[in-house]
């Protein structure tokens, strides 16, 4: 792999806090190596800003290996940037070329208010999980793991849905700011397993009610969420959720 360096123009959303107005600021960054990660380029810019006595750009990040779900930049009009199935932290600079202009914004959704610059408040996702995204079992004497055999195909499908990292890219990509892909992944993860059956109906009803309360929009099935999901969560999970929702609504005994 040939390495190269590049000079870039960055247009970054700056916003002091939730109350203030935001705007784009333009920065020139030079001598960026194609081997760097996208966030390492931001590190270099921020170091420079600190030295110049300016406020560095606030952005969420932690594991930098694509699994914690903390990083969340809307890059050139696409959540997590141009690479398929890739989080912002795993995006590397060889995706760009010398002279490029890169536009970086925070997630845009009513359910994700901006805290500062590129950082948004995603606590709504935790509250949606609190509404029923679990199996009600206390720590203690669970039965032997192998006493609950699970068909491999179902276990694999459950795992594929459970791979969701709750980054919120699906919401950011959706024209309705719907959280359906995130929510349906949890519904599928638990609903595909025998352990998840007793609470299956209540779970889907109360989690969807919470999603509405958090002001996420409805799903109109455009597929934008699936296209940008860094963990390739399938949109078929939404169909499964809708089916569960319908069945639960029709057969609810409450």
């Amino acid at each position: 792999m040939e390495h190269y360096t590049m000079n870039l123009t960055l247009k970054v959303w700056r916003q002091a806090n939730n109350k203030s107005e935001g705007r784009f600021e333009t920065y020139q960054v030079n001598g960026i190596s194609s081997e760097m990660s996208f966030l390492e380029m931001f590190d270099i810019l921020n170091e420079r800003l600190v030295i110049e006595g300016k406020d560095p750009i606030a952005f969420d990040h932690d594991c930098r290996e694509g699994i914690c779900g903390m990083c969340s930049m809307h890059i050139n009009g696409r959540p997590h940037g141009p690479w398929h199935a890739t989080t912002t932290c795993q995006l590397h600079m060889r995706a760009f070329k010398d002279g490029d202009t890169i536009v970086v914004e925070p997630w845009r959704a009513v359910g994700f208010p901006v805290i500062k610059d590129l950082i948004t408040d995603r606590s709504a996702f935790d509250r949606i999980v609190q509404a029923g995204g679990f199996i009600s079992i206390n720590t203690g004497n669970a039965v032997d793991g192998n006493s609950i055999p699970i068909e491999k195909a179902k276990a694999d499908a459950s795992f594929a849905a459970a791979a969701c990292i709750a980054c919120g890219a699906c919401v950011a990509a959706c024209k309705n700011a719907s959280a359906s892909l995130f929510l349906s992944a949890k519904i599928a993860h638990l609903g595909l397993l025998p352990q998840g059956q007793p609470e299956r109906k209540d779970r889907v009803l109360s989690m969807i009610a919470q999603m509405d309360k958090e002001q996420f929009g409805s799903c109109t099935f455009t597929g934008a969420c699936e296209a940008v999901c860094p963990k390739e969560i399938s949109i078929t999970n939404i169909s499964r959720m809708n089916k569960d929702y319908l069945m639960a609504g029709l057969s609810s005994e409450k």
Binding site: M1, S33, E35, S37, L39, E40, D43, E47, V50, I51, G53, P56, A58, D60, H61, D62, C63, R64, E65, G66, I67, C68, G69, M70, W83, A85, Q90, L91, H92, I115, K116, I119, R122, S123, F125, D126, Q130, A131, G133, F134, I135, I137, T139, A142, V143, G145, N146, I148, P149, I150, K152, A155, D156, S158, F159, A162, A166, H189, L193, Q195
Partner: protein, 657 residues
């Protein structure tokens, strides 16, 4: 005198006996007892959830925006448990024995045995929570091998085991939050421990969004804040992983156990340049199928695929025929360093070795062809089949490798090099996980307890969940049963006022240095000193130099640091500066501990103490103890020793040949 409070009786019975006689707290009293949990990884989330279920009033704190983001999530390969589902001779004793041996006979027998005993319950608990472990076609749980063992006892969920286990614990935690038993404080960082009458009674935390300081009371405080590998700057830890919570506790009187025991993981993606902000692990599970090699010829610049098999040195298979590529991490790391130092390294930096899957792809391809009933299959088809199998097992790791390096590991061997990964050292705790401060506990990676001088793969997840789900719910009762008469102490108490004032003053001091160098630049310099002089190989002269250099760095930090922004604002620079200040002090202690321990054991390799074959040479007569360091003042520590007594295992020179 350090009292580990190890229960009397035979090793097999200690934990059962303990549980049978430990003090209990009745449900109505539990509702009046408050517990603070710092951290929401596997140890913190499992402890907070389990204690909430029991009826205690719990407050849990994390610096991330959600408890689900704690760095346990990045653990890849798996979790060990003595289930013996494979009928390959595993047992509680074997897991116990492997762990003690893997730790190079520097861990406490009673703790490790308890860990092995509860390991099987962890799997059951996680399955019940809906953790989607890998399964066989018959619907039963699947296992694989990890380093340092000869059985298959590792449970896994592709290369995302930590993520799935953490989501399980996170869901249990969110359920307790919904029920009102746990209050969650995200984007909060503990900056001081509050002590009243010699007991831990609360914390001062900073709200990282507003910058405001907050006082929180607890009848007990649990630190579950993870490891301190970022003292080396470059490590596989998350960017935010830090030592601050345990360091504050240490300076208030909690002894620090074996700080120099750090794990350098053999299979990480090599450094590419000065811009590098972190290193990425390639799971140890890859060593099940990947073969590690370097060219037999020095400075061989041919592409790996152009080097014929007979000109490759599969050095682990050559040196350790019994365990081959599955030797423990410390052994594999040193062997890689040895080859690179001798001039056989590969890649542009020559600081890398190959991890090659070509033979596994071919082997699996043949198996797959035979499964499908095909004969006379051409070589390309075999390779295609084989790649499919490898993709199912390790797909996410291969994708990650390709994103970072731009190379396709299905075609070209991975290049790997050792990197800092885990810290076996941590706050000293007794059998009940209590530190030397009354009412202050340490769980998971931030304690020193179970892994000795080297941790075996797939044991970190096991220990974090064992501590949180199955140990602390019992042991904390033994303390809190005596606290039922203690009313909630109002946070207007002078101890809270003073602690908050001290934190405020420190933050102001940091902001007012107004020098010229960033926290990041100090962190990088500290990391370089640590890696060069206290890394994979250490010697007395280098360690003495490191101590002087770190003391100098500390002076420079406190006179030339530059932070932008304000205290009462969202200010990641200030957060980082506070953490780096603590890392610098810890770095000095690590080097002092490494200097004092003039033997090699596990991950701690002193060049002066090695066998003729270059293996770690222990000195049991002199060093068979836990080093527990007491902070007594600036740059000053006093060493206390907990002698290790082996009643069941007989320490020998570790051999994986």
């Amino acid at each position: 005198m350090l009292d580990a409070k190890i229960p009397e009786g035979p090793l097999d019975d200690k934990w059962e006996d303990y549980k049978g006689h430990v003090k209990l707290v009745n449900p109505s009293n539990k509702r009046r007892l408050e517990i603070i949990v710092i951290g929401s990884g596997l140890a913190g989330a499992s402890a907070a959830a389990s204690l909430g279920e029991l009826g205690y009033k719990v407050k849990c704190f994390c610096f991330q925006d959600s408890p689900r983001r704690a760095h346990s999530i990045a653990a890849q390969g798996g979790i060990n448990a003595a289930k013996n589902y494979q009928n390959d001779g595993d047992s509680v004793f074997r897991l116990f024995y492997d762990t003690v041996k893997g730790g190079d006979y520097r861990s406490r027998e009673a703790n490790v045995h308890r860990l092995a005993e509860v390991s099987a319950h962890i799997i059951d608990q996680c399955v019940a929570q809906g953790v989607p472990f890998a399964r066989e076609y018959g619907g039963l749980l699947s296992n694989r091998s990890f380093g340092g063992t000869q059985v298959q006892r590792t449970f896994y969920a592709a290369g995302q085991t930590g993520q799935q286990l953490l989501i399980g614990a996170y869901q249990a935690l969110e359920r307790q939050i919904a029920l009102g038993n746990v209050a969650m404080y995200t984007r909060h960082e503990m900056l001081e421990l509050v002590m009243i009458d010699g007991k831990a009674r609360g914390i001062i935390a900073r709200n990282l969004i507003s910058g405001e300081l907050e006082r929180h009371f607890g009848h007990a405080v649990l630190l579950c804040s993870g490891g301190y590998g970022n003292v080396f700057y470059l490590s596989t830890n998350a960017m935010g992983s830090n030592t601050t919570a345990i360091w504050k506790a240490h300076k208030k009187g909690a002894y620090f156990g074996n700080p120099c025991y750090t794990q350098i993981h053999p299979t990480c993606i090599p450094v590419t340049g000065e811009h590098q902000s972190k290193l990425t692990l390639m799971s140890e599970s890859l060593r099940n199928d990947g073969r590690i090699w370097v060219p037999k010829k020095k400075g061989d610049n041919r592409k790996p695929n152009e080097i014929p098999a007979e000109e490759r040195d599969y050095y682990l298979e050559r040196r350790y025929p019994a365990y081959g590529n599955l030797v423990p991490r410390d052994v594999a790391s040193r062997a890689a360093k040895e080859r690179c130092d001798a001039g056989y390294g590969v890649g542009t930096s020559k600081q890398a070795v190959y991890l090659d899957f070509a033979s596994a792809i071919e082997r699996y391809g043949h198996v797959e062809a035979s499964k499908r009933g095909l004969s006379n299959v051409d070589a390309d088809t075999i390779i295609t089949f084989g790649k499919e199998v490898i993709k199912e097992k390790y797909g996410n790791l291969f994708d990650m490798y390709e994103k970072i390096t731009g190379e396709n590991p299905y075609v070209v061997p991975m290049r790997i090099y050792p990197a800092v990964h885990y810290t076996m050292g941590g706050l000293w705790v007794d059998y009940e996980l209590m530190t030397t401060i009354q009412g202050l506990y340490a769980l998971g990676e931030c304690n020193f307890s179970d892994h000795g001088a080297n941790r075996l793969g797939a044991s970190a997840l096991m220990q974090g969940l064992a501590d949180g789900y199955f140990v602390i719910p019992y042991t904390i009762g033994n303390y809190l049963a005596n606290e039922i008469g203690t009313a909630v102490i109002p946070t207007s108490h002078p101890a809270f006022v003073d602690a908050e004032a001290a934190v405020k003053e420190r933050l102001e001091t940091l902001m007012n240095i107004k020098g010229n160098q960033t926290a990041e630049s100090f962190h990088k310099r500290l990391g370089k000193i640590m890696w060069d002089k206290c890394g994979m190989a250490r010697n007395a002269q280098g360690l003495q130099e490191a101590i002087t250099e770190i003391q100098q760095l500390k002076k420079e930090f406190w006179s030339d640091l530059k932070i932008s922004g304000a205290i009462k604002d969202f200010n990641p620079e200030l957060d980082k500066a506070g953490r780096v200040a603590d890392f610098i002090e810890l770095g000095e202690l690590i080097c002092k501990d490494a200097l004092q321990r003039a033997e090699s054991c596990g991950g701690h390799f002193r060049e002066e103490s090695q066998t003729e074959e270059g293996e770690a040479l222990r000195h049991d007569a002199e060093f068979m103890y836990v080093s527990a360091w007491e902070y007594v003042g600036d740059h000053k520590w006093e060493l206390h020793k907990e002698e290790l007594e082996y009643e069941v295992v007989k320490p020998t020179q570790r051999s994986y040949k």
